[in-house]
Amino acid sequence: MNLNTRLNRLPEKKDREKFNIIFREYYPRLLAYGELFLDRDSVEDIIQDLMVYLWDNAGSITIHTSLESYLFRSVYRACLNRIKSDKIRETYKKNQALATTDEVRYYDPEENDVIKRLFSLELGREIEDAIAALPEKCREVFIKSYIGNQKVKEIAAELNISERTAEAHIYSALKQLRNKLKDKFFIPPFLLP
């Protein structure tokens, strides 16, 4: 937590070492977050541009909240902008990960506290622990599925189980994770957007 608070602001001067630490800390979380909206390549571009902007304007950017809030908000806005311009360029369908256009407001970090917590360092550790606690087979399938982003079909073939079984493992893993993280990450429905 110390690390988190220490890096939750911009260095006043251009300090490459500090900048790299900030990058390491936020890049993975911003990337995973941005993938809620767009394909990975597009999100990578957006974060790189944002980070260069941050470097270039160090000292002149005033952040009223925290660096973390600022970064998530910036990525959120940039993703929306990109979706808009993709729509014009008709590449919308190909690049976007969204089921409906209405969906984006659920991921607004300023409106939805759950999002912030879900992509925070703290909860990251909780999630790790929760995954470690899954039954072995279930964990194996689940990790292949989300880290390797392997298709159910491939996993089933690799582990010599039926597709249905593989699906069931993934489903059960997600369910267990959600139950375990419920208190931390689900807040009462009436508080949600």
């Binding site: 390549d41 571009d45 944002l50 940039a78 089921a99 989300y146 159910v152 699906e167 429905p189």
Partner: protein, 329 residues
């Protein structure tokens, strides 16, 4: 449909991008049924992506992005150093003038090796940026794009560097060819408009709208050429350039919606703004109405009227004007 009855595996499939068309439709319908469904889905999806953070945090996964960002910063800082050094030389030349002509010649000679470079950068939160280069070439910078060009085009060639997406309408100057450098290749132009798009992974796309361009490799040899309607695609380390036919509109639409007025009088500009926004602008001063100063004025139709009006007041700061609601609008 309550949550429990809905097949969550189906949602997962959608999240992983594996759902087929009929499944997509089913999900879309289910999502539109209630807020609760939407919440279930968005939470599941958020958790799914949050799970990726760990993998992305590993050294192996971070190596490339870190190398990329540091390389970009290096380039940025190198450019800045180059520019500030040249400024210094210019100052040195001025000082030298006071002390003796011999020094001046030496310093000026050194300085004239390359004129000062101007870097124009568009942020990621603003709209499209329009600029005009010293030779009259017009450039539109998409979000996050960068263009650097010499302050004066007094060399044999007009050389610019591009990062991100830029649309260029190059001014025809026969004696001086126009070169647009990208990480993958250089575009050689005579008088033409085209769209260049480079992204952080290094991929470069050039779409030709009109005229003709040649594509040059590192050593300046011709590696291909384009006719209008064609797109060239290449990567910096790649050994070939892909050329294909494309629908131009798709690649240039981002710059549409711009209203450009060149060499226009205040009355002309006001008329255009009135037309676009359906307002009436009254210029109070008689003198201003008769003034014949010419302006270059560019705005985007998507910009709010207030913003454009502010720009107008900025362009013509001494003019007194106000807005009147137009009846019927």
């Amino acid at each position: 449909m309550p949550v429990k009855e809905f097949d969550e595996i189906l949602l997962l499939k959608k999240i992983q991008g594996l759902a087929d068309e009929s499944e997509e439709k089913l999900i879309e319908r289910w999502l539109s049924e209630s807020e609760e469904n939407m919440r279930t889905y968005t939470m599941m999806k958020s958790l799914w992506y949050a799970l990726r953070v760990k993998g992305y945090s590993e050294d192996e996964a971070l190596r490339e992005p870190i190398a990329d960002i540091n390389a970009r910063i290096d380039r940025l800082e190198a450019g800045r150093r180059r520019i500030s050094k040249m400024r210094w030389l210019k100052i040195a030349a001025v000082f030298a003038l006071l002390f003796g002509i011999g020094v001046v010649v030496m310093e000026v000679a050194r300085f004239s090796k390359g004129p000062e470079m101007v870097l124009v950068e568009n942020g990621i939160n603003q709209g499209i940026k329009y600029i005009e280069l010293p030779d009259g070439t017009k450039a539109w910078l998409n979000l996050g794009a960068k263009l650097s060009y010499p302050e004066r085009f007094d060399a044999q060639e007009r050389k610019v560097e591009i990062e991100g997406e830029v649309f260029l309408a190059v001014a025809k100057i026969k004696a001086k060819r126009f070169l647009a450098e990208t990480p993958a290749f250089t575009v050689e132009v005579t008088g033409t408009s085209f769209n260049v798009n480079t992204n952080a992974s290094g991929k470069v796309e050039v779409v030709l709208i009109e005229g003709a361009v040649n594509l040059l490799d590192d050593s300046g040899r011709k590696a291909g050429s384009l006719i209008p309607g064609q797109m060239a695609k290449a990567w910096p380390e790649g050994d070939r350039i892909e050329i294909s036919q494309v629908n131009i509109g798709i690649y240039t639409a981002w710059k549409e919606g711009l209203v450009m007025l060149e060499d226009a009088g205040l009355n002309e500009i006001v008329k255009k703004i009135e037309e676009v926004y359906g307002v009436e602008i009254v210029i109070d001063s008689l003198k201003a109405r008769k003034d014949d100063t010419r302006y270059n004025f560019v705005f985007k139709k998507s910009q709010r009227f207030d913003t454009v009006f502010e720009m107008l007041q900025f362009v013509a700061p001494s003019r007194e004007m106000h807005v009147k609601e137009k009846s019927g609008k």
